[in-house]
């Protein structure tokens, strides 16, 4: 009676690869990726706060933060936090039911990307100048 049959080849619901990549879609994916990045980036904040209590452990953190790899990671972390914050503001606007118009949603998505890059670069230029140069 209960003979197992191979499941019929049923149509699957379309997924990401079916659609043309749009700006809002890309920013949604980037929001998730930056969120995951920020999650692990919090390890750096915890390390910094623990290290700040003693000169020797703080020297280790400063060595990392001053190295090329450290600088690249901190620059990426800065952008990731700013992008996630701006993307989050966009989602909060959408939560209120506003900003869904065809031009509005494109404008908001573009502003998230351009704004995050601009703020990150400005912060780093200001920061490096305040510290007395790029090195």
């Amino acid at each position: 009676m209960a003979t197992t049959r191979a499941p019929a080849a049923r149509p699957l619901s379309p997924h990401l690869q079916i659609y043309k990549l749009t700006m809002t879609m890309a920013m949604s994916i980037v929001h998730r990726i930056t969120g995951i990045g920020n999650y692990f980036g919090m390890l750096l904040l915890a390390w910094w706060l623990i290290a700040a209590a003693s000169p020797s452990s703080y020297a280790k953190f400063e060595w990392f933060a001053g190295s090329i790899i450290g600088r690249i990671i901190l620059f990426g972390f800065t952008w990731s936090v700013i992008h996630h914050a701006l993307g989050g503001i966009r989602f909060l606007i959408w939560d209120t039911g506003h900003g869904f118009g065809p031009s509005e949603r494109e404008w908001l998505a573009a502003a998230t990307l351009i704004g995050s890059i601009a703020i990150t670069v400005l912060l780093w230029i200001f920061g490096l100048l305040a510290m007395g140069g790029p090195l």
């Binding site: 998730r32 969120g35 995951i36 920020n38 999650y39 919090m42 390890l43 904040l45 915890a46 910094w48 706060l49 623990i50 290290a51 700040a52 209590a53 003693s54 000169p55 703080y58 020297a59 400063e62 936090v81 914050a85 989050g88 503001i89 989602f91 909060l92 939560d95 912060l123 200001f126 920061g127 305040a130 510290m131 007395g132």
Partner: protein, 132 residues
């Protein structure tokens, strides 16, 4: 429909209304928005604090971060972010991990990670404030 007789006269709809399948309703959804809103001014404040600390040595950093307004802002930031990131990562796990055991283990590990980050950071802040 059911083998067991009804123990109360509340309808099934009344029991689940507002709670959902997880019995916790929209708790996580609301907390995610609450912490998202809190994170905006707190992140701006933390960026301002980092700018204040640029180029300063360990003693100066320890003194500034340990001062009451900065320590309180840092602690609020850590609590809000840890709550927000725990919920966010749980959503990611639920979206991509379909094996029930692996999903449960990862959700637990995610909670442990968020609590560990929050407590480690707050311990560091308190140590700077009170010199424990």
């Amino acid at each position: 429909m059911s083998d067991t007789p009804a123990k109360h006269i509340r309808t099934p709809l009344a029991r689940v209304r507002g709670l959902g399948a997880a019995r916790s309703g929209t708790h996580d959804f609301w907390r995610q928005r609450l912490t998202a809103v809190a994170n905006i001014p707190l992140t701006i404040a933390v960026i301002v604090i980092f700018i204040m600390l640029l180029g300063r040595n360990q003693a100066a950093v320890a003194q500034i971060v340990g001062s009451p307004p900065v320590a309180i802002i840092m602690a609020l930031f850590v609590i809000s972010v840890a709550t927000h990131m725990r919920i966010g990562m749980q959503v990611v796990i639920e979206d991509y991990v379909h094996d029930e055991l692996a999903k449960l283990i990862l959700i637990m590990a995610n909670t442990f990670f968020a609590i560990a980050i929050a407590l480690t950071s707050i311990y560091g802040i308190l140590k700077l404030s009170f010199g424990l």
